[in-house]
């Protein structure tokens, strides 16, 4: 492998991607703070989500945010972190509701972080008295026990809208099936390909691939979230260019 001063080419490429990503997020966020906010392309799932949140608040029903069962120390924790940002924003949006949202997770760390996220949302809305740590629960510690522990919440806690954002396997279809039986709304997004396929067939609205990471931006969580979407677009074009250049060089027999 080619190396520069003992650092491999892969490492240099990785570092470059990180630096370009960080620079792009920072610059776009700073520019956007001085200008009017950028418009995001319309995605039907997010329009349905906003409508479902509004209806749940109006009807005095509950919202359920499922953060999945990712371990925070593994690479798939990014989807859970998006789930936490989503929970924060949904808690803020539904603060005037009679029934505050409920969060479930399948990992101890995520359960603690979701409690902290809910408390932070209520504190920033000057409604700390509404915070109840029992509304951010560990439903089970294995994928199946998590599903088994979450289904009663979907059935018994007056939930009309469910937002499933995190790491799941195909077992997530049992959750969407339970949601269907209650005639409730479901928006689901996962970083796992298996879960995405299962959710496409079973959820009301499904986000595919990187759309998962767009949820906080579409819920207007802040300029940095919108900036990171644009940074992702820049990085995606760079990756596409590198793949095409690599293919062309390979075709020409240069590499």
């Amino acid at each position: 492998m080619i190396s520069v001063s003992g650092i491999g080419l892969n490492t240099i490429a990785g570092l470059l991607v990180v630096l370009i990503g960080a620079g792009a997020i920072f610059l776009i966020a700073v520019i956007d703070r001085k200008k009017s906010p950028r418009t995001l392309r319309p995605i039907a799932a997010f329009q349905s989500l906003r409508r479902a949140i509004g209806l749940a608040v109006e009807d005095g029903k509950r919202l359920h945010v499922s953060i999945g069962n990712a371990n925070i120390l593994t690479p798939n924790s990014a989807s859970a972190l998006v789930g936490l940002s989503t929970l924060n924003r949904i808690a803020q949006l539904s603060m005037i509701s009679d029934r505050p949202p409920i969060a479930t997770s399948g990992d101890g760390t995520l359960a603690m972080l979701s409690q902290d996220t809910l408390r932070d949302a209520y504190r920033s809305g000057n409604a700390l008295e509404q915070y109840d740590p029992m509304r951010a629960r560990l439903a089970g510690t294995t994928p199946m026990s998590y599903v088994a522990g979450t289904i009663p919440i979907i059935h018994d806690e007056n939930v009309t809208a469910n937002i499933l954002v995190g790491s799941y396997g195909s077992e997530v279809a049992l959750l969407t099936d339970a949601i269907d039986q209650k005639n409730a709304f479901s928006l689901a997004a996962s970083d796992s390909l298996t879960a995405q396929a299962a959710l496409f067939a079973t959820a009301n609205e499904t986000l595919i691939g990187e759309e998962l990471f767009a949820i906080p931006a579409y819920l207007q969580a802040g300029p940095f979230y919108t900036a990171s979407l644009y940074a992702q677009d820049i990085l995606r074009w760079i990756v596409i260019a590198v793949i095409l250049a690599g293919s062309a060089l390979k075709l020409l027999g240069i590499i």
Partner: protein, 205 residues
């Protein structure tokens, strides 16, 4: 900024771990390993706190004035029995493991069976939920790959044209999966960078 100390610690730890990955300095690698070890320990403690939270939630359900949940009694009793047996015999005891897996495996297998039926039923109803070209492509892809992976076409693999077509078809999901996973990886990177910049804080401090 709220909780500046917690945010500064989180950013510093994140940066050290990231730098330890990119820069091959032994001291940096040592610090990174130590920090990750602390993370593993904290995650273990968090799991314990989470389980206590789970038991308290079910205790509230059992002692609620209305709509008491008897299944919660079963959960609490099972938890106490498992915990007691685990403490007395040790978690690696063969008999303890045998009893636990004899209960857990059939239950999870039953749930998998329910899942198979749920997915089959959902696939039959897919056009009620989804309309448009993507749904049609999804169904055609699912049927095509069921046919290809079922082995029905294996007898035709001696035919070089059919074999080439099958090889090309088998490459399609790999290409699609790579595309989706690249998008997910870039999204994960952006999420991590937001946390390193202190713009996204999954902790209140």
């Amino acid at each position: 900024m709220r909780a500046p100390i917690a945010t500064a610690i989180a950013i510093a730890v994140g940066l050290i771990v990231l730098l330890g990955y990119f820069v091959p300095l032994p001291i940096l690698d040592e610090i990174r390993t130590t920090l990750l070890d602390w993370g593993v320990t904290l995650a273990g403690v968090a799991a314990l706190v989470g389980i206590i939270n789970l038991i308290i939630t079910h205790w509230h359900r059992v002692t609620a004035a209305r709509n008491r949940d008897l299944y919660s009694v079963i959960l609490i009793l099972s938890f106490i029995m498992t915990l007691a047996a685990g403490v007395v015999l040790g978690p690696s005891d063969a008999q303890f493991q045998h009893v636990i897996t004899s209960i857990q495996v059939p239950i999870e297998s039953s749930l998998m069976a329910v899942l198979a039926i749920s997915l089959a039923y959902a696939s039959l109803r897919i056009f009620q939920k989804r309309k448009g070209l993507i749904a049609i492509i999804f169904v055609i892809s699912a049927l095509l790959f069921l046919l290809v992976t079922s082995g029905f076409l294996a007898s035709g693999s001696n035919n070089p044209i059919l074999a080439s077509i099958l090889t090309a078809i088998n490459q399609l999901p790999v290409a699609g999966a790579r595309g989706i996973l690249l998008g997910v990886a870039l999204g994960g990177l952006a999420t991590g960078l937001r946390i390193l910049m202190g713009a996204d804080r999954p902790f209140s401090g």
